[in-house]
Amino acid sequence: MNDTIYSVNGPVVTVRHTDSFSMSEMVYVGRAGLIGEVIRVGADVTTIQVYEETTGLKVGEPVTGTGSPLSATLGPGIMQNIFDGIQRPLGEIAGREGAFIGAGVHVDSLDGAKTWDVTLCVKPGQQVSGGDVIATCPETSVITHKSMVPPDVAGVVSWVAENGPHTVADVLCKVRGDDGGERELTLAQRWPIRTPRPVKSRQPIGRPLITGQRVIDTLFPIAKGGAAAIPGGFGTGKTMTQHQLAKWCDADIIIYVGCGERGNEMTQVLQEFSELEDPKSGKPMTERTVLIANTSNMPVAAREASIYTGITLAEYYRDMGYDVAMMADSTSRWAEALREISGRLEEMPAEEGFPAYLPSRLAAFYERAGCVQTLGGAEGSVSIIGAVSPQGSDFSEPVTQNTKRFVRCFLALDKSLAYARHYPAINWTQSYSEYYEDLDPYYNEHLGPDFVQLRGRLLGLLAEESHLMEIVKLIGSDVLPDSQKLTLEVARVVRVGFLQQNAFHKNDTYVPLDKQLHMMQVILHLYDATRRLVDEGVPVSEITAAGLFDKLVKMKYEIPNDQPAQFAAYTEALDKACDGLLAKRREGAGAPAHAEGK
């Protein structure tokens, strides 16, 4: 049947009087064959959103269906690649089109000519079902790719290919189903991006995603398989925080989705990650990274799809048993793409022009995070860290508010901290993590009972400081009693020496958990020791003048990550200085000589 375009309005195209298309089907639009997706089917009009620029499209041009929903191609070659929102490799497009992206480029997601050194893991006669690994191949020097039986296939292996070089289109084995039909399984498979990949069961959350960022790991931990949101106005360092997490978090695989963001930023990620050595393997970070770049000037419908493409790739690697972390920068741009398309469809808007289904779409996306037992029996996880760019830096806007309902870790970035160049500008009074209880057993087991207890004290101290600051703002700090002045001084050490972290300093850009613990211990030891001094009547100004606080502020730079033993020297020096101050005090106050015992 000949289906032709009836109307064109931005990325939205309609076809009249047709029943050839099904909902969510991928279609080719116009003579150029632009990629589109059916988003509404009606008796009169079928509506299609087009993932490419529609300039030049004419009424009467043909529209052809593909019979399948918009899908991602899953197979070796995904790693190290950089895709656009609908999984077209940008490197390949650049090879054909040059520096600018044209419309109607048809390229395969994965290089069909490249061969992979495949080792088969199944034998004829073997019973297999969805998720079982049929073959492995080294995808990069650090990632072993496992090719799996698709979730909807089960039966007996009837034929197996030889070990050796295969392309992604090669048939690796044939499976005869219970109904007698035979399915050929190729190295690469397809999966519709809007459908979550099935799992055997969801597992309870119990391991932190270690990021090496003190304010996150210590105060507001993210769990492996958890979902976190990083909201912040422009210039507060969302992207910087996302980059730091992508570089340093201990996931096996990073999927970085640049959704409607800056082109130069994607170039920066590309370049930095290829230069950055992976702390675990010593190889470039890119060996375990996938980038999806749909910058703000690329077509808006593909921006909407990019989030789903990203999460589908993440789930695929999760099913191989990897811990995957997906960074989405920024989910607000994705929500705006929804709004833009919804507006073109003339749907009834809800809050701020966003469609009424915004919350359900957000929920469906964040629910694809999780710690799971895969169909093949392995354990894997997908963690999602989504940046949110609130309009006018106002956290009460719909995207931030709805995101808050579906994530359990909320890292609020603060303009005033960013203005003072306090980075990461995570505001400790507005942020929260609901993963404490899930993760405390892990911290207790790996770092001892101190960690959780000290964290509690640190949070208490910061809360007390913000309370005192209210007073200080009104009447100055001079009128406070010395004990409260001390609280302010130590809280400053916590803020500057612990919470602030310098992404460009070699000792500070990543800090392992045990160093975080040591730092907390030293700071709180200082608090206890100086508190005793103040109780004895030593003025806070003298303690400050002795440089005790300033010394701790700089310890993050001075103690390398691999030499925690140096902390003992700090504690010792601290105690000595405190004893000195105390002795001086007692002398000055005419105290008895026994204080100078040593």
Partner: protein, 470 residues
């Protein structure tokens, strides 16, 4: 069935006229392409337009010069089969065009060596080159605290009545690619005026002329009295010219676009006449994507010698930085330079509000090998120390200056001198990076050394108190 653009049909009569939009009915299939150029002819003149929606046999056309004087009958419409394209040649440098890209300087048409679609295409991120080289503006606050990088888009957020035009003109006059003379790199300016008054356009022209820069400036002028719909094309024409000069002719192009607020308002007017569902404050829901389609045209591409750097200027309605225009701009651009009315009233020029200003790309384009090794430290510390000044001032307002602690008093002193001596500079004063950095150190040396917690001891040893006192 196949149409032939050379022999394209003319359609007689319109079926609807609404604001800048007209509807043409009775098109055969394939008669018009989305966003293609249209000629709307009356007996006396030909106006240009663009297809903005297609539905069945009806095409909705946006007429750039407005629809005044058009009637339903007697108008002939011709679809050209081409998107709007700009005539380009190396000789466009030094010329003046109107908002739709037609020469208005009386020097005749451009003999085009090529025609480019003014909508451009997205730069493939894998072919971008990460911007690393700075542009010296000679303005201390910008060079030290929010360094402009080649290939960056760094807007100026201002308000009506503030000195953004003076600042932009000074940047254009003083901008240098490198401190060393004799570099063979070509530098050019594309100036794009949207909805500015004749006086402002004239101010820029004169200021370029006086500094001898006019010969390297290409101007696109859509004045406030010009058709509003043309305003939507103006930045696109300007950027197409800039891309041509940068990526084909190998020039480093600085694009100054003023005033983006007028542009966004034109877009809102157009959107509402099309009957689109409004988003925040009546602006269309696609304002972000629309702004991005222009701002993202800044950059450097691999294998090309030139670069496109943008300085868009926008006046924040009611000085409100959370208004959709500055808000969405800030989310796309790589930083922002924010002007402050209080500083302006104090007579400080340029009245740059340091704390909310930022250059995202500067961290990789400054320091050793680019500006000076201590630059990142100075910049960080100035930001951090100046942030404390406002705390001290707040306190002084409440308890009085005399009651402040000695350190807080030093902060007050530092803050005042920083604003007067570091921010403040003459409209003709061109400071080198060294001068600016040394000045920064002199000011930092007002503060007690232990307050400088962003700087390594070794750097402090080398510079603290070593650059004289103020």
């Amino acid at each position: 069935m196949e149409e032939n653009s050379k022999w394209a049909l003319e359609y007689l009569g319109l079926s609807d006229i609404n604001g800048p939009l007209v509807a043409v009915d009775g098109l055969r299939d394939g008669g018009a392409g989305y966003e293609e150029m249209v000629e709307v002819k009356t007996e006396t003149e030909t106006r240009l337009g663009r297809v903005v929606a297609l539905e069945g046999s009806r095409a909705v056309v946006q007429v750039f010069a407005g629809t005044a004087g058009l009637g339903l009958s007697g108008v002939r419409t011709r679809f050209t089969g081409q998107p709007m394209r700009l005539a380009l040649a190396p000789e466009i440098v030094g010329r003046i065009f109107n908002g739709a890209g037609q020469p208005i300087d009386g020097l005749g048409p451009v003999y085009a060596s090529r025609f480019d679609d003014i909508n451009g295409s997205a730069i493939n991120p894998v072919r971008r080159q990460y911007p690393r080289n700075y542009i010296r503006t000679g303005i201390s606050s910008i060079d030290v605290l929010m360094t402009l990088i080649r290939g960056q888009k760094l807007p100026i957020f201002s308000g009506s009545g503030m000195s953004h035009n003076r600042l932009a003109a000074q940047i254009v006059r003083q901008a240098k690619l490198s401190d060393e003379a004799g570099s063979d790199e070509k530098f050019g300016v594309v100036f794009c005026a949207m909805g500015v008054t004749k006086d402002v356009a004239e101010y820029f022209r004169r200021s370029f002329e006086e500094s001898g820069a006019l010969a390297r400036v290409t101007m696109f002028l859509n004045l406030s009295s010009d058709p509003i719909v043309e305003r939507i094309l103006t930045p696109r024409c300007a950027l197409t010219a800039a891309e041509y000069l940068a990526f084909t002719q190998g020039m480093h192009v600085l694009v100054v676009m003023t005033d983006m607020t007028s542009y966004a308002e034109a877009l809102r007017e157009f959107s509402s006449s099309k009957g689109e569902i409004p988003g925040r404050k009546g602006y269309p829901g696609y304002l972000y994507s629309d702004l991005a389609s222009m701002y993202e045209r800044a950059g450097i591409i691999e294998g090309a010698k030139g670069s496109v750097t943008q300085i868009p200027i926008l006046t924040m309605p009611n000085d409100d930085i959370t208004h959709p225009i500055p808000d969405l701009t800030g989310y796309i651009t790589e930083g922002q330079i924010v002007l402050d009315r209080y500083l302006d009233q104090q007579g400080i020029y340029p009245p740059i509000s340091v704390l909310p200003s930022l250059s995202r790309l500067m961290k990789d384009g400054i320091g050793e090998g680019f500006t000076r090794a201590d630059h990142p430290d100075v910049s960080n510390q100035l930001f951090a120390s100046y942030a404390k000044v406002s705390d001290a001032r707040g306190l002084a307002n409440v308890i009085g200056e005399e009651e402040l602690s000695p350190t807080d008093k030093r902060y007050l002193d530092f803050g005042n001198r920083f604003e007067r001596e570091f921010l403040g500079q003459g409209a003709d004063e061109d400071r080198t990076i060294d001068e600016s950095l040394d000045l920064g150190w002199r000011l930092l040396s007002i503060l007690p050394r232990e307050e400088l917690d962003r700087i390594d001891e070794a750097v402090l040893d080398a510079h603290y108190g070593k650059h004289g006192t103020v």
